[in-house]
């Protein structure tokens, strides 16, 4: 009751369960965004989003402009890929991508011509208020916009105006709870007006009446900047909410619970509780797409970590190799250093720096080996202290769940809600026995997916095999029936015409040889 009263007053005081407070290390929070120069070679993978990979539209030798579509989307869950600068397509072949497997993907290699000319085929839609939301959504799709908070989900799908599940509140996720990362922070400070404009566009697209800009309380200047543009716009529908700094406040489900007190039911989406969440970077990209007709070709990345001499936030073209970006910040030797793609809680380790940045690259971190080893110590037995369960934002029991995953007890793991785990890493962070809990959950989820795949393949094979048996049996029966019919016909003829017996015998012999 007190919680809902405070909520009505506008204080986001309904916290989510659990959570941890690691050292935030926001060393780059006061560094203004710098433009990263163009590298000598761009490597653009054909899949930078959740969904199906794109197919290249260009061929070796083609000349492309910045923002020109170079790979088209396949299927519904897909967005096209655009050239990051003007230049020539050098080759199209497999190259390493930011993925924990270390596997590669087909990538389009572009050599810049230095002129950086833009493709201007998309017209600015300054009168977007009069435009049909479906048109605006199509613009968002063809500009290749995917969630820039790290998940890279095709944005246009979230902007659907579904009559069955109308969106009442749009939440802009300016929480940025991962340590080190400050890209959304700087965007809010430097481009607050554009972000507010983008929010208005989003609200128009989905027909929402209310919006909340959620910012963690460790970003005082962002709070001030966004409040200032809001005061200028004088809008009652939009408010800025300051949330206590706690990881993973920025996780969509936890953010919704903190701001509205409602939980997204298991298996459902935020739109089922009338909410749409959008990242700050994505909002700015939507603004650029609608107002300027710019397809997404760059994003803000935080380059930080104790091994980077000059940490900073940079506006980097997609497809820039990481080695080039690290060199810009003074890091050129990679001995005894571990590279992370994303934040330290959910980011993945890169085996080498010759990997391009993609739409989901929120941060490039370089950590010294010693510090990294401190976080990955020898696994001791679980002492059942319960700290993991205390900090889990989804209220799971991680230590028991990890036991089931480790022992391949997949049904038990599913019963202990393995598939509700958001892999935030809070449990592994606090474990005194240094058990790699999230790793076990990922292993369990992978095994379960593999089993499901094998079972459905086996089912299909079984049906095909049975179908084949039925077909063969049918053919055999048909042949037998035909032979019987001929025999009967001949037998009946011989009954009526006994002189034709010899003739019928010869005929039946030839029939038999067929």
């Amino acid at each position: 009751m007190i919680k809902s009263f405070l909520n009505k007053l506008g204080f986001a005081s309904a916290p989510f369960a659990g959570g941890v407070t690691p050292d935030m290390c926001k060393w780059t929070e006061d560094s203004a965004i710098e433009d990263c120069p163009l590298p000598p070679l761009f490597i653009v993978p054909i899949k930078q989003h959740i969904g199906q990979a794109c197919t290249p539209l260009v061929q070796v030798g083609d000349l492309v402009l910045r923002g020109q579509k170079i790979a088209k989307s396949e299927g519904y869950l897909s967005v096209p890929i655009h050239a990051p600068t003007s230049g020539r397509v050098l080759k199209i072949e497999e190259h390493a991508i930011p993925h924990p497997s270390g596997m590669g993907l087909t990538s389009i290699f572009i050599e810049p011509d230095g002129k950086d000319e833009r493709d201007s085929s998309l017209t600015p839609m300054n009168n977007w208020q009069d435009a049909d939301p479906a048109e605006l959504r199509e613009r968002v799709r063809i500009c290749g916009i995917a969630g820039l908070g790290g998940a890279a989900f095709p944005t246009f799908i979230k902007l659907l105006k579904d009559k069955r599940h109308p969106i009442e509140t749009v939440i802009l996720n300016g929480v940025e709870c991962e340590p080190f990362l400050t890209n959304d922070h700087r965007l809010m400070v430097e481009n607050s007006a554009e972000i507010l404009h983008g929010l208005h566009i989003i609200m128009h697209m989905v027909g929402a009446k209310k919006a909340i800009i959620a910012i963690e309380d460790n970003k005082k200047d962002s709070l001030l900047a966004m409040q200032k543009v809001l005061d200028l716009a004088d809008s009652d529908a939009i408010s800025v909410a300051s949330l206590p700094t706690r990881y993973p406040q920025g996780s969509e489900k936890q953010l919704i619970e903190s701001l509205t007190g409602k939980q997204v039911p298991a298996g459902k989406l935020p739109m089922h509780v009338g909410v749409l969440c959008q990242n700050i970077g994505t909002t700015k990209a939507i603004y650029d797409a609608i107002i300027f007709g710019h397809a997404i070709t760059d994003r803000i990345i935080t380059i930080s970590g104790d091994a980077v001499p000059k940490p900073a936030n940079m506006r980097v073209r997609l497809g820039t190799p990481m080695r080039f970006i690290y060199a810009q910040r003074g890091l050129e030797k990679f001995d005894n250093i571990q590279l992370l793609h994303g934040g330290p809680m959910m980011g993945e380790r890169m085996r080498h720096p010759d990997i391009p940045v993609v739409k989901s690259s929120t941060g490039l971190l370089a950590i010294n080996n010693e510090r990294m080893k401190a976080a990955h110590q020898v696994e001791d037995p679980c002492i059942r202290c319960g700290h993991c369960s205390e900090v889990c934002p989804v209220s799971l029991v991680p230590n028991l769940l990890a036991d089931h995953c480790r022992n391949d007890q997949l049904e038990k793991a599913a019963d202990y809600n393995l598939f509700d785990c958001i892999e935030c890493g809070a449990c592994s962070y606090v474990c005194p026995s240094h058990i790699p809990l999230v790793h076990y959950f990922r292993y369990g989820k992978g095994q379960a997916a593999q089993v499901r795949r094998e079972q459905s393949f086996a089912e299909v094979s079984r049906l095909r095999s049975e179908g084949r048996d039925i077909r063969l049996q049918r053919e055999k029966d048909e042949k037998a029936a035909k032979r019987r019919k001929v025999r009967d016909t001949l037998r009946s003829e011989s009954v009526l015409n006994p002189e034709n017996d010899k003739k019928t015998e010869t005929t039946s012999n030839t029939e038999g040889k067929k």
């Binding site: 497997s101 292993y443 089993v451 094998e454 086996a458 094979s461 095999s465």
Partner: protein, 192 residues
């Protein structure tokens, strides 16, 4: 003496009543279940390869259900299938006789194919398409890797190649810690 008689009679009567109740319950609460061979067949990978010694997955399932075959004959199913069959049958897991190989699929070298349709007829899941005097080709998505098409081919133009690993199907392996490996070792030592 009387007490002994009373004690025996009362216990005997109780045992009789309990037995009657159990008999009634087993009739009233009886559940119709799947026949055992259906359940076993559902656990098999449906490769229809015959490596178990039976002409297909369903015959092997029938043999295991009938107690004629051991639980560890399915090679493509590997350890996971053996464990689930052992679990279903309530028997001890038994080590597999051969190690399952890497997943493979058949590949026809079309330049050498003479269009004889012998491999098409051999494939238990109709995964090869073609017609007499036309090239034959394997539909990789449906190939189970059973190897039955290799023998009939008169010009030996079919290869078994490793199934391509897709990025979407990659999953995290177990952590490289001692304790994670301990579990694997213990499971394997249980059924050696």
């Amino acid at each position: 003496m009387e007490q002994l008689l009373y004690a025996t009679l009362s216990l005997g009567a109780f045992a009789l009543i309990a037995g009657i109740i159990l008999a009634i319950a087993s009739k009233v609460f009886h559940i119709e279940g799947d026949p055992l061979s259906d359940k076993i067949d559902a656990l098999l990978p449906q490769t229809q390869c015959g490596q178990c010694g039976y002409p297909g997955c369903r015959p092997y399932a029938n043999a295991v259900a009938g107690g004629e075959a051991d639980v560890n004959h399915c090679v493509p199913g590997g350890e996971r299938t053996m464990l689930s069959i052992a679990d279903l049958m309530g028997v001890e897991p038994k080590a597999l006789e051969e190690e399952a190989s890497v997943p493979v699929v058949a590949f026809v070298r079309e330049d050498e194919c003479i269009g004889c349709t012998l491999c098409i007829k051999a494939c238990p899941v109709d995964a090869i398409i073609g017609a007499p005097k036309q090239y034959h080709t394997v539909v990789t998505d449906h190939c189970t890797g059973c190897v039955l098409c290799l023998e009939p081919c008169p010009v030996d133009c079919i290869d078994m190649i490793q199934k391509p690993e897709l990025l979407e199907h990659w999953s995290w392996p177990l952590p490289d810690t001692e304790r994670a490996q301990l579990g694997v070792e213990r499971r394997e030592s249980h059924h050696d």
